[in-house]
Symmetry: C4
Subunit: 347 residues, 4 copies
Amino acid sequence: MDISKDLTEKRKTEHIRISLNEDVEGKNITTGLENYRFIPNALPELSFDEISLSTTFLNKQMRTPFLISSMTGGTDTAYQINQHLALAAQEKGWAIGLGSMRAAVENEDLGYTFQIRKWAPDIPIIANIGAVQLNYDFGVDQCKQAVEMAEADMLVLHLNTLQEVFQPEGDTNFSNLLSKIEGIANSLDVPVGVKEVGMGIDEKTADRLTSAGVQFIDVAGAGGTSWIQVESYRSNDNIRKEAAEAFLDWGLPTAESIFAVRKNNFSIPLIASGGLKNGVDAAKSIALGADLAGFGRLLLASAVEKDVEALILQMERIEFEMRATMFGIGAGHIEELAHSERLVKKA
Amino acid sequence: MDISKDLTEKRKTEHIRISLNEDVEGKNITTGLENYRFIPNALPELSFDEISLSTTFLNKQMRTPFLISSMTGGTDTAYQINQHLALAAQEKGWAIGLGSMRAAVENEDLGYTFQIRKWAPDIPIIANIGAVQLNYDFGVDQCKQAVEMAEADMLVLHLNTLQEVFQPEGDTNFSNLLSKIEGIANSLDVPVGVKEVGMGIDEKTADRLTSAGVQFIDVAGAGGTSWIQVESYRSNDNIRKEAAEAFLDWGLPTAESIFAVRKNNFSIPLIASGGLKNGVDAAKSIALGADLAGFGRLLLASAVEKDVEALILQMERIEFEMRATMFGIGAGHIEELAHSERLVKKA
Amino acid sequence: MDISKDLTEKRKTEHIRISLNEDVEGKNITTGLENYRFIPNALPELSFDEISLSTTFLNKQMRTPFLISSMTGGTDTAYQINQHLALAAQEKGWAIGLGSMRAAVENEDLGYTFQIRKWAPDIPIIANIGAVQLNYDFGVDQCKQAVEMAEADMLVLHLNTLQEVFQPEGDTNFSNLLSKIEGIANSLDVPVGVKEVGMGIDEKTADRLTSAGVQFIDVAGAGGTSWIQVESYRSNDNIRKEAAEAFLDWGLPTAESIFAVRKNNFSIPLIASGGLKNGVDAAKSIALGADLAGFGRLLLASAVEKDVEALILQMERIEFEMRATMFGIGAGHIEELAHSERLVKKA
Amino acid sequence: MDISKDLTEKRKTEHIRISLNEDVEGKNITTGLENYRFIPNALPELSFDEISLSTTFLNKQMRTPFLISSMTGGTDTAYQINQHLALAAQEKGWAIGLGSMRAAVENEDLGYTFQIRKWAPDIPIIANIGAVQLNYDFGVDQCKQAVEMAEADMLVLHLNTLQEVFQPEGDTNFSNLLSKIEGIANSLDVPVGVKEVGMGIDEKTADRLTSAGVQFIDVAGAGGTSWIQVESYRSNDNIRKEAAEAFLDWGLPTAESIFAVRKNNFSIPLIASGGLKNGVDAAKSIALGADLAGFGRLLLASAVEKDVEALILQMERIEFEMRATMFGIGAGHIEELAHSERLVKKA
Ligand SMILES: Cc1cc2nc3c(=O)[nH]c(=O)nc-3n(C[C@H](O)[C@H](O)[C@H](O)COP(=O)(O)O)c2cc1C
Ligand SMILES: Cc1cc2nc3c(=O)[nH]c(=O)nc-3n(C[C@H](O)[C@H](O)[C@H](O)COP(=O)(O)O)c2cc1C
Ligand SMILES: Cc1cc2nc3c(=O)[nH]c(=O)nc-3n(C[C@H](O)[C@H](O)[C@H](O)COP(=O)(O)O)c2cc1C
Ligand SMILES: Cc1cc2nc3c(=O)[nH]c(=O)nc-3n(C[C@H](O)[C@H](O)[C@H](O)COP(=O)(O)O)c2cc1C
């Protein structure tokens, strides 16, 4: 019996259960998007039906500027979730991220749980590995293996310092990771990006990452799912359980993280995620400087409990909200939204 | 059987029912008027009885600077409401707006529901047509017809982008409307204005409208009735119903919309409306730059359920509040109120 | 039967009853004093017992910088209240204001209700008349009569525009009052001041009053008792009753009114009142620029329901709070408190 | 029977009981630390296990930058509490403060209650005397006696003006204390510091203290335990009981007090305390300029009710939170935390 496989499976299952059933959001911290509002254009001089959501990301043509954030894989349940997500993403033209593929790289039997290309032939698929694994036996080969296994268009390495710290026996050696990330970025055939998991990417980190050749960034900022809180529900360690409370407002809010990355990096492809609730949030993110808008936990519930139709309906709602926002400010294309001057701080 | 007439009737009836019975106000958005307050003049050196509310609007002498906002018409119930409103407006010297006259222009049998001149011989009556209809078979002739039918002193074209989007089968082609509005403004014998329906007129739109020859503007700003919310109650479409929530704080608050219009247009006749609750709000609006103050949904309840007396009492309350405000700051005339420096942002 | 006497009596009694039993404070408006705080001096280098509250006001030596604000008179109950207030004021060395003396000037039989000198031989007593009465048959003679009747040291004329407006049949002709106030100020042997009744004195009014020779000002600012609300409880007129709600946040907050008066009038003797709750509020008022601090409704309850002892206890509490504040910031004398730089806006 | 001993015992016991069972925190005042947040470093380039908390304070090497604030002594119960605190502090490498030693100096029989050196051989122990006692028969000899009795490494004199004022028969003569403090600081063989007890040290006081040769300062700022409130629970005096309410927001918040002391005193050893709840607060305090972070009432409950293990667990939680914070911002040493630019005011 492969105990470590069993443990991984248990962890993944718990992550999903806790994410869906417990209060895993921070307190006294929000995405910051609610501090902005669009000044409507009462006379937009365009037709609602003409509005186009199409865009490009890393030279890939996309029907929408949306992403299903990296979430799961590695277990049978996760496989079904990934199938639902892939079918819906393909239907609606969203990019899709996979959950951490470490388990499948270590144990090829789990590879099938990430193989969604058959359901999603022409949308961007993003493979996912924890950056810290580069300090624990992972290297270029393992990263290539993940990309191939998933027939992915890109690889994203996630940074998750405090999740590892709050997790029982987490991998907490983050020394000298930058040069290793640089190595991966230089050696793979697909674009390599970096993301957080809900605490945001700060200005200095963004600068160091782009200098190291990282090709895209996903802020995964604070204001949505807090992985410190998720892990505190799993913990048997009283110290970590109680300590989690002191970190309820930890993190860089999504809106501020978009600014932080964009400060010195005007053109790096940028994904906004972390706490986005609807298409208005997505539109704000793009007007603040992001290229794509990612949704995580919000979509998980539909993907787990309901059928693909429910998931698609959620995604159509988000699309409709984005279109209505664009109509309301008179932006016919994503490019116009991105350069709109109608997003202002609330008075 | 004329199905479209039936549908229009159903819609108008539902609008009234929903407006009166459901929570149709935005959330996390207010008129912004509550952020201002008058610095009282403890020694006003005038007599309360001397205070005069009389003013002029588009060269018409008026006993008060008040307007009953455009609301209804086209059905038997609407006809009775319009009668009540007209009788009260005439009694108290308020201007009165009619609801959208599209149905009556398309079907002259409904014309009687807008014919209130007999009860309101000497106050300004404002005819009303959706601007977007100019992209759907309406032109100068239809606009003239509306004005004549109502024996109106002015015509106002309403802009309502997101209402149309959230409405089942709304008219959502707003392309090239500006030049058509310009055409109407140039061809009618009466002044032609433009209003929103509760999301406000922004600075750029105001500038374009005045350049196109529009003769007055009604901001109909956010903070009061939200037509996105009204339509969401009517909708059978789950996407629109859920999406409405993301737009609860949409719009340009009434106070900010007054500033936006006045920014580059110092002399265009300007109506403030959207969420006004009392005569103090009205006085603030005028001190911020408006010429008239409009009240919509607040008056509807009295017009529907009660008799004309109840409506008149409400209007007298608003008048009394306006007078008390003017006395409290030492302004004997509307002109003095308009130029008062006693309205300041709350500390 | 003297109906007008009966009506006056009824009004006075109702004022007291309503003030004590109903919610007569404004809403969304406060004194503004709570926005300030003292930076403590951890090492004050003085002894608590040395702290002195003594001061002078209009050349009168006083044991404390406190005043019982003008409240009542004219009825038997009022007479008893005034007796309680006078005995306590004398005991603790506070100044005391009398309620409006109009009724007693018009009907000398009521004079006894204001004759408190016998219980308060050596503290300042302030006679009180509504300034607006100068437009209704009152002049120098009536004012002199009030001062003599009360053996008062000063006379204060109160301005109460909106109280008169919200009161059934109030005296609302405030025309040309300034010159009449000037006349009184020039003709009386005692200092003549002006106060509001809870809406504050604004900068321009203060400037006009001092130019007219008024010798002291009591701001009676907003944040405490609102006379619009008091009158609305008495009103049978639905319009006034409902309109009162629109004026819940009306007025110039006490803290701002102190600034407003002091702006251009550095040395006029100044009383801060309106919503003061304790000795810390009083100390803040003095640090902001006032010479005395007045308390109204807070003391009324003790004066009505309980014995003089209860009233004295309240006043001793206020004194203790003032001393503790002065000790906490290292101010041994009122002069030092007045010039302290330790009062700052809260961060 | 020694009545004053009995009274002291009663007072000490009541202080502990009230501190643990009643609401003794201020209202409308906080430490101010919650207004700051750390901008995470998503890629810290260090290993969690490498993080070191070691530091020096007044030339003493310490395993952690933490202090158990001065709390108790003088009674049997206090003796047990002190034993628990000492054992835990020794185990975890925290400094420890003793409660006021006045009683033991006056009555050597009580000396044993402060003799914790046997359980805490190598951590800093801080003796404690009320500075105001220097005006009541205490001098260099008594201070030396306190230090010797406790085998202490330092002496701290506490300033507690308003506690003395709100206490029945408190010692409220704070005249000429500065020169006496200077005398003590110059005459003792150990460093002499000054602290408040929960109202903070202000800029001017800090400047005067450092000029007088005081060698360290503990701000003991507002936002945590309010001794005015503690004393109000003990009081039989209605005036003091009611007056306490007016002082609920009194004091200089801990965060502001750190700034105040550091304004002109860049290098004086500085302890932050007053309302600290966890290791994130402690880390913020150090990033704002403090050298050590002190915890008082938070630890008392464990020390009283539970065993040493519970106390140690609390302290380990605080340590873990500090380490997690340092990892989250990429600071491997206290020195880096102290100079971090990642602490910013919340937007
Ligand atoms: C159940 C769940 C599992 C996740 N697993 C991963 C993961 O394996 N790799 C990763 O990079 N991020 C993971 N995330 C983080 C998301 O990609 C995303 O950055 C984060 O949840 C913030 O977005 P949200 O607030 O919309 O959920 C996970 C999130 C959830 C809710
Ligand atoms: C029941 C109802 C019907 C309305 N119908 C129209 C209309 O037909 N045309 C129009 O321009 N505005 C219409 N409005 C909008 C109002 O004229 C006004 O701009 C808006 O309600 C904001 O003001 P309020 O907050 O005082 O209600 C309607 C409003 C209500 C409540
Ligand atoms: C019952 C009552 C009666 C008052 N009568 C008078 C009055 O006759 N003349 C006057 O100048 N002010 C009068 N005032 C106003 C007070 O003098 C004072 O300015 C005001 O109440 C604000 O202070 P407060 O908030 O401490 O009550 C009265 C106030 C109260 C509560
Ligand atoms: C029960 C108790 C007793 C205290 N006794 C003393 C004392 O004797 N000497 C002293 O300097 N401070 C004393 N303090 C104050 C603390 O040292 C500390 O400055 C204050 O409580 C603020 O910190 P906190 O909010 O973490 O409790 C005491 C505090 C408590 C809770």
